[in-house]
Subunit: 79 residues, 2 copies
């Protein structure tokens, strides 16, 4: 199975990278862009055909390594 | 409108960050994870109600700033 994982900063957590992009967009003439938030997107191939097992595994991967759950949240799809 | 943008490395381009995650997963006991690819995920609020205009604008943002089209590809949805 393939897992598609999004890791994003929790609402309310300051996103300096997003702010930098917002300023860069502004200086390029895109004046109507706001609230830029930057996150990570990961694709992982899992050698696992059981959907429930794959789901539990991806959840553990996110909790243990891929996301810092103090400031980030994650979501994923399995395909 | 809100744009949800994914920027990923093109197929065939080496992804050292993905490889590092793969090794880290392996050492945590996730031995069946492979082909980890890491990309960026961005959300941008656009003060623009015309869908076609917003679309053209996001495309230009990606080409000019958000993606390095030599090694990266991008895709986006407008909601």
């Amino acid at each position: 199975m393939k897992a598609k994982i999004h890791v994003t900063l929790k609402q309310g957590i300051l996103d300096p990278q997003g702010k930098a992009i917002e300023h860069a967009l502004d200086s390029l003439g895109f004046n109507n862009a706001a609230n830029v938030r930057v996150g990570k997107y990961m694709e992982v191939d899992l050698n696992e055909t059981d959907r429930a097992k794959a789901d539990a595994q991806v959840k553990r991967m996110c909790e243990q390594l891929l996301a810092n759950t103090v400031v980030e949240e994650y979501r994923y799809e399995l395909t």
